[in-house]
Amino acid sequence: MRAAIRDALLRDERVFLMGEDVGRYGGCFAVSKGLLDEFGPERIRDTPLSESAFVGAGIGAAMGGARPIVEIMTVNFSLLALDQIVNNAATILHMSGGQFNIPLVIRMTTGAGRQLAAQHSHSLEGWYAHIPGIKVLTPATLEDARGMLWTALEDPDPVLIFENGLLYNMEGELAGDAGPVEIFQAAIRRPGKQISLFTYGGTLFKTLQAAEELAREQIDAEVVDLRTLRPLDTATIVDSVKRTHRALIVDEGWKTGSISAEIMARIMENAFYELDAPVARVCSAEVPMPYPKHLEDAAIPQTPGIVAAARRVVTGHE
């Protein structure tokens, strides 16, 4: 992420980063470490704890010709800025009859797994995907983490990027010329023939691991990384189901009124007669996130649960 932000600051002088502790402190996940020294306090802008005002200021600055990257520490804190995101960022292009677009990028962390309890760990990206007027990106790979920011900054409209906290520590080699990536298409991360596993963000690697374990049981699973929750790539989802005839959705959000429910609905609408089994889901338990590790682990999707659920869809039993 740091490389992506640095690239953006170097490429375009209108780009600036703004958020709580992005400067002196170096970002609460050290994402912006060193950037203050390189770009100065005007472009690496520490803000007070005023989510609504600095997100709104990002919207205003975007209307005024800047290209802000606004960082919110966690998705839970973004709720303090919900008015600005939903009532302004998502509506102004429309309310103004197309006169004012908002080229704004808002980044925030999402997801559980670090024992941060019920006010730092939720996965509300599916909730944001409900809102027309914004785009919701959920990178899971290093290439996407870097490339999606680039593409998002090229977008004329507000883009929210949800970065799963567990993925920050993922290591890997990126090509030096890694550039922007396409953001409107889901990616088939592992082709397979018997079941489609749809997921995104923090649960992608758990799902890929589950697919490996299923392979040992002679179950050939396809893993589709949704990458973007709004707009949702219905075509790739439906095509996959048409090939495998079975589907399981893995989502760290809750089930009720969720993006997993939306994906199921789209499968029903577009591929009902292709199905050989009911579509299933592995989601978070319907509780606020608990603190102790064993309970947190039990609350969110884990590889064994994904394997068991997929096996059930394919074979009809555990």
Binding site: A61, G65, M95
Partner: protein, 342 residues
């Protein structure tokens, strides 16, 4: 610190006085027409009238230049008209016609106009303040000498966004002019019933923002005070705050039986109506002739009638276009040259 406005009454010249008078009259007559059209079901939704408060928009806009930005509220017909959005475009917007200043998508509460840098009627109380901070930030980062004037009612001071925005603007010394229109009632809630501290300038002072009250019923006083503040903001003096003391003569919106205020109070304030008051001032200075008034009324009536005609003749956007403007048309990307030529 809060400062008292101890200035003498501003002087007046005839031509300027008549200009101010006509602009206030345009707003008044436009809105009176809106009431008529609302009753006739030509205009729907919420309509919040500015009648009684015209001196503020008219006086304040004269302190601004075309490069400046304006952020307004849902009670913004007057600001749009005084800023230079045509009566035609405003009326067509209220009709919901595609010829409206927001293509009919916004209606009375959401007048937008890129040409005059009018960044909208915002209908979330306090919701426009962070936007104004951002517009000011963009100007500061780009080294432009613009002022962003942000209008809001006194009801907004109860919102967290007010305090967050004041602090950000002051902390970053942004070129924002906060224009608080204190008409004493947040819908039906009197200031004293919602604020422990009713001196609004003191709240701005708490953020180290220079603030002073202005007689919002006196267009000349508004103009003078706003110019003074805008000059300071433009010169790099950071945000300034004006509290225009005013009164809305009509109900909050079309659905308001006005149970919360005394009819006598309304009548008392009507004695301070900015339009007859300015006429009186012109008379005192022997700058008045009755025939000017007749002619002015006739001109304004022609403008408003033409606006109604324009709106009536306007077109409904085809339903096929319903989902336009949710996202930018990719062919019209105003966006970010991320591969700049430099």
């Amino acid at each position: 610190m809060a400062q008292k406005n101890r200035r003498k009454q501003p002087t007046i010249d005839r031509e300027h006085g008549l200009f101010l008078l006509k602009d206030m009259l345009r707003i008044r007559r436009l809105e009176e027409k809106c009431v008529e059209l609302y009753t006739a079901s030509k205009i729907r939704g919420f309509v919040h009238l500015y009648i009684g408060e015209e001196a503020i928009a008219v006086g304040a806009m004269l302190a601004l230049v075309p490069e400046d930005n304006i952020v307004a509220t849902y009670r913004e017909h007057g600001h749009a008209l005084a800023r230079g959005v045509s009566a035609n475009a405003i009326m067509a917007e209220m009709y919901g016609k595609v010829e409206g200043c927001s293509r009919g998508r916004g209606g009375s509460m959401h007048l937008f106009d890129a040409a005059t840098r009018f960044y909208g009627g915002n209908a979330i109380v306090g919701g426009g303040l962070p936007l104004a901070v951002g517009l000011g930030l963009a100007d500061k980062l780009a080294g432009r000498q613009r002022v962003t004037a942000c209008f809001f009612g006194e009801g907004a001071v109860a919102e967290g966004e007010f305090h967050e925005s004041m602090n950000l603007a002051a902390l970053w010394k942004l070129p924002v002019l906060f224009c608080c229109e204190n008409n004493l009632y947040a819908m039906g809630t009197a200031l004293a019933r919602s604020e422990s501290e009713t001196d609004i300038c003191l709240k701005a002072s708490a953020f180290e923002i220079p603030a002073w009250p202005v007689d919002g019923m006196d267009v000349l006083a508004v103009e003078e005070a706003t110019k003074r503040a805008a000059i300071a903001v433009r010169a790099g003096g950071g945000p300034h705050f004006l509290e225009y003391r005013t009164y809305r003569f009509r109900a909050h919106s079309m659905y308001d039986p006005e149970l919360y205020r005394d009819k006598l109070e309304v009548e008392e304030w009507k004695k301070r109506d900015p339009i007859p008051n300015l006429v009186e001032r012109l008379k005192q200075h022997n700058l008045w002739q009755e025939e000017v008034w007749t002619e002015m009324e006739a001109e304004v009536a022609r403008e408003i009638d033409a606006a109604v005609e324009f709106a009536e003749a306007g077109h409904w956007e085809p339903v096929e276009e319903l989902t336009r403007f949710v996202y930018s048309d990719p062919s019209l990307r105003s966006g970010p040259a991320l591969n700049p030529e430099r």
